[in-house]
């Protein structure tokens, strides 16, 4: 049987090689189909990876707790409408939930920042020192502020890349410089490595970090001491996120003295929730593109079937002769299936090349990230084998079930 398959495959290649134009046109459908599947999937994978990267830029295993909507006398406030979270909440959470690696807090406001003759309207964040580690910020110069800076409400600031770009001349050293935030002088003690866009498309580098106590006492003002814009926490492992969220909810409800029939006065989001939304979007897009590409692969398969049916009819007499000298139905079936598979495999291989080139071109021309994975290529290859098998089966069967006499007499 291996000899039979080998010889049949070689014969198939010879037969297909005789009619190059026809073979080429038949394969074109598969080439386009496989090529577009590869290109589409690699664009989808690229988009997914870009999203994952942005989500990861939040830090690892991050939990975000936001002040919630509170209904007061029938009037429902929106998210963050009421300040319900405090620095004490964060400290208590850390104390009572061992799953949490760290907790932190912050408040933000947009402020005018001045350095010499340059000024910039940027987001100022008053934060606990732990915030920077939770969110995974790293430094390009200088370093973070300390617990002592927080305790003494020190006027020190850490700048994101966008803030640096807008407040300093190129080549000017930011660390050590004195800038003014809302007329209050701050010493720059560190600059942060850029993170790029957030999952929501915001510029994450347009930030200035100052100690929380400094912010509430000297820059923002406050409703009451210790009220925060958001709490942050992180866990050691991703699988700890869900139990940690449940425990946070329990502790906060207890601390806020919420009755069982009352809604939470906070929202808890994890990185997973945020990532999921974006992943779903890109997955929907990939699925749609893939559906379109699959249709073209189908059309390619139908092309193969069509040409094979013509070929079977043209070679009816040959089939009769082969049967007369002892070919069984299975021999004939395999012969035509091998021809179909040769067409689809060859088309598939060219299609893979076309797809890879197409993906590259997309990256170069449109600037979209694309990823060509081995799995994608393997799947496309297997898919083209399946197409050949599926669409070859009918013509091959038609050939195999010919009556030897009718086939021999066919003119």
């Amino acid at each position: 049987m291996p000899t039979y398959l080998l010889v049949t495959a070689l014969t198939a290649i010879r037969i297909l090689g005789r009619n190059r134009l026809r073979t080429g046109l038949t394969m074109l459908g598969i080439v386009i189909g496989v090529g577009s599947v590869i290109a589409m999937v690699s664009i989808g994978e690229g988009a997914k990876a870009a999203v994952a990267e942005r989500v990861a830029s939040m830090g690892t295993n991050v939990i975000l707790i936001l002040p919630g909507a509170v209904t007061t006398g029938g009037v429902r406030g929106g998210q963050g409408g009421v300040v319900t979270l405090t620095t004490a909440d964060a400290i208590e959470l850390k104390k009572r939930i061992p799953l949490l690696r760290e907790t932190g807090w912050g408040r933000r406001d947009v402020m005018q920042i001045v350095n010499g003759n340059k000024n910039w309207n940027g987001t100022v964040n008053g934060i606990s020192p732990s915030y920077l580690t939770i969110r995974g910020w790293s430094f390009t110069g200088g370093g973070p502020f300390t617990q002592q800076d927080l305790d003494t409400a020190a006027r020190v600031a850490v700048l994101g890349q966008t803030a640096v770009d807008n407040l300093f001349e190129p080549g000017e050293e930011p660390v050590g410089a004195i800038i003014r935030i809302n007329h209050v002088p701050f010493r720059v003690i560190g600059t942060l490595a850029p993170k790029g866009q957030s999952a929501q498309g915001m510029d994450q580098d347009d930030v200035i970090f100052i100690p929380f106590s400094t912010a509430e006492r000297k820059v923002f003002g406050t409703y009451f001491l210790g009220s925060v814009g958001a709490l942050f926490a992180s866990t050691e492992r991703p699988e700890d996120l869900a139990p940690a969220v449940a425990q946070i909810r329990e502790v906060l409800r207890q601390r806020h003295r919420l009755q069982p029939d009352q809604d939470d006065d906070f929202f808890i989001r994890t990185q997973v929730d945020i990532g999921k939304v974006h992943e779903e979007t890109s997955e929907t897009l990939t699925a749609m593109l893939l559906a379109v590409a699959s249709v073209s692969l189908m059309v390619g398969g139908i092309g193969i079937m069509n040409i094979l049916l013509v070929s079977v009819t043209e070679r009816t007499k040959e089939i009769g002769v082969r049967m007369a000298v002892g070919a069984t139905r299975r021999h004939i079936l395999i012969q035509f299936l091998v021809e179909a598979m040769t067409l689809s495999l060859l088309g598939g291989c060219i299609g893979i090349l076309v797809g890879i080139l197409g993906a590259r071109a997309t990256t170069v021309v449109a600037g979209w990230p694309t990823i060509i994975s081995g799995e994608t290529v393997a799947a496309a290859f297997l898919f083209s084998v399946a197409v050949g098998l599926f669409f070859g089966l009918y013509p091959a069967n038609k050939a195999a079930w010919m009556n030897p006499i009718d086939a021999l007499r066919y003119e």
Binding site: K317, V321, R322, M323, G326, R329
Partner: protein, 239 residues
């Protein structure tokens, strides 16, 4: 000699719409090993139908056909294919070589389907081509060969599997006289020297004269069945 072919009351009935065509109407025929039989008859006499059944390409509607003692009527399609492959060689009027495929590969075909190793296929096929005088033409395509040469390739293909029965359906029908003589000389040699049983369908009396027995058919029945005295020696064709 043992019976190679034994037919008892063979009927073949075709149905074309409402019309029933009785192609064979009760054929009794016994052919022994080593015989050279010519089947003659006008077109429509049923000789091609009989040939198809003898060649295991078709099954009788009724009756029993035994080839070397095997009741062919009870076999499945793949078993019939194997019988054709191992026991029967076909030579057709229009050669029926596979186009754009070399003479050697055409001759290899039965061995290929038998599953012999490639090397053995080639050796046996080359030998069969040599036996019909075509050494040196192994790599020619059918289109590069004359009609007589093509028919010799077809005979080599029929011989290569060492069948016990050679069925020749008007083998000289498309050939000029000279080529016909050559082909018949080969067949005669195969029968006389190698003892291969040959059943030949023809409507040319001078071709039939090579045989030692002549079966004449008419309207699906055997009209006459007679021994001829001296086979090919009775013939004198003025070429």
């Amino acid at each position: 000699m043992a019976a190679l072919i034994s037919c008892e009351d063979l009927w073949k009935i075709y149905r074309l719409g409402d019309v029933e065509v009785q192609a064979l109407r009760g054929i009794d025929l016994l052919i022994r090993e080593g015989e050279f039989v010519a089947i003659m008859g006008a077109s429509g006499s049923g000789k091609s139908t009989l040939m198809n059944i003898l060649g295991c390409l078709d099954k009788p509607t009724k009756g029993c056909y035994r080839l070397q003692g095997i009741d062919v009527g009870g076999l499945r399609a793949d078993q019939l294919a194997e019988i054709r492959n191992r026991r029967i060689g076909f030579v057709f009027q229009n050669f029926n070589l596979i186009p754009r495929t070399s003479a050697l590969e055409n001759v290899q075909l039965p061995l290929f389907y038998r599953g012999l190793p490639l090397r053995q296929q080639r050796a046996l096929a080359a030998e069969a081509l040599a036996r019909v005088g075509l050494q040196g033409r192994e790599n020619h395509y059918p289109s590069q060969l004359s009609g007589g040469q093509q028919q010799r390739v077809a005979i080599a293909r029929a011989l290569v599997a060492s069948p016990s029965l050679l069925l020749a359906d008007e083998p000289t029908g498309n050939l000029d006289t000279q080529s016909s003589l050559e082909i018949m000389a080969i067949l005669d040699h195969l029968n006389k020297v190698q003892g291969i049983t040959i059943v030949l369908v023809t409507h040319e009396t001078d071709i039939a004269a090579y045989a030692e027995r002549e079966v004449v058919m008419k309207d699906g029945r055997i009209l006459t069945d007679r021994k001829m005295l001296s086979g090919s020696s009775a013939l004198s064709v003025e070429a």
